[in-house]
Symmetry: C2
Subunit: 230 residues, 2 copies
């Protein structure tokens, strides 16, 4: 009798900002600065709740809150100014506790893993550089898919790159956009508190389990049924 | 037959950072910078969850997480460096939407209100200046009481200054420390999402009602049974 493949060999698909690197608050303040340059005042907590979703959808949600359309030209300037402000904060950014150890452990356990971020290749470069990721690791950025989170495309592409069906993957993320995208991809979502969301918000968005940060997840891999398959 | 005084004339006791002014994320990054100057790495979300509590208790909680005591000298430097870093971010800080209108409306409705913050007089000065507060408004800062939140002292002092029993007050705050202090003061707590906590966290800490921000609270004063008593 065969068992479902998830049981034998689950894969992990990681979000980047707030999940592996401690960069959410810098993204928040970079968006705030970009918005204010355009004369748009938006409370910081509202920006925080949008981090991790597609930049295009963020700007659409912003249109709704402002009650008018910003237009493509302003949207493009906002994106550029956010990227520039964020780059100035790169040197403040650190890996989250346990992130490197978790990835190294998974590699040595021969558990397949990948990274899938709503950020562009350009803005992911800094955070990724902190993690010491082995060559050949599948990294899916915004540039490689048609739609970012909460669409499932990033995680579907990551699963495909690992040659693992999405239903045999755990998506690990800190934002509700990761968890909604996980559901759409047909994967189970694991929430981390390290991006600043509360546990209940993550559970409400579909988290199967919630841990504090990568170190806490590393200490509880058994709860996901992840065994050394080496 | 007499009715309880809360029914006739409730007072509102406001927290400051995250409740009336959009300053929580700046406090978070100022603490992060101060901690890193001392060689202490603490994830940003963990700092966020401590904002609004007494600085002394924050440092005690930090001792627990680090597994060692920082000592009074380091603690004093951390406090000073946080204050200096925060001051550099003052020009980024804005009133939250509806904050000024809410306070003006309460004044014109003759509803007594006061502000009670865990911050020092020094660090509250900048944020308070943005609100255009009328002379004579009771402002209770850390310097005026023995213990800050989650102890009830700040709110008890504010209620006393208004000559209103604490049980006839609503405490309005964005952090769980406000809501825990409200319970200890024997007041009902109203949570605002504008400091970045999720709704469920605020309800779990005892919030009687939760609103998005001061503008949302202003639009729902009827839900608190607040009437024009002029």
């Amino acid at each position: 009798m065969s068992t479902p493949s998830l049981s034998a060999r689950p894969a992990l698909l990681f979000d980047l900002d707030g999940t592996l690197v401690d960069s959410v608050y810098q993204h928040v303040l970079a968006w705030r600065e970009a918005l204010e340059t355009e004369g748009i005042e938006l409370s910081v907590w509202r920006i925080h709740r949008r981090i991790g979703m597609s930049g295009g959808l963020f700007l659409k949600a912003l249109d709704r809150e402002l009650g008018r359309s910003l237009g493509e030209e302003v949207a493009e300037r906002l994106r550029k100014n956010h990227a520039a402000s964020f780059r100035q904060l790169w040197d403040q950014i650190r890996p989250l506790p346990g992130a490197k150890e978790l990835l190294t452990t998974l590699t040595s356990m021969r558990v397949p893993w990948a990274i899938a971020t709503s950020g562009s290749e350009q803005s992911a470069k800094g955070p990724l550089g902190l993690l010491g990721i082995p060559d050949g690791t599948p990294i899916i950025t915004r540039d490689q898919v048609a739609y970012a989170k909460p669409n499932p495309d990033l995680f579907l592409a990551a699963a495909e790159r690992l040659h693992v069906p999405p239903g045999d993957c755990f998506v690990v993320g800190d934002s509700i956009w990761d968890l909604l995208a996980a559901q759409r991809a047909g994967a189970l979502g694991v929430g981390l508190l390290s991006g600043g969301y509360g546990s209940e918000e993550l559970v409400t968005a579909g988290a199967y389990r919630v841990y504090a940060d990568p170190a806490d997840l590393l200490g509880h891999l058994d709860e996901l049924g992840i065994r050394d398959s080496g």
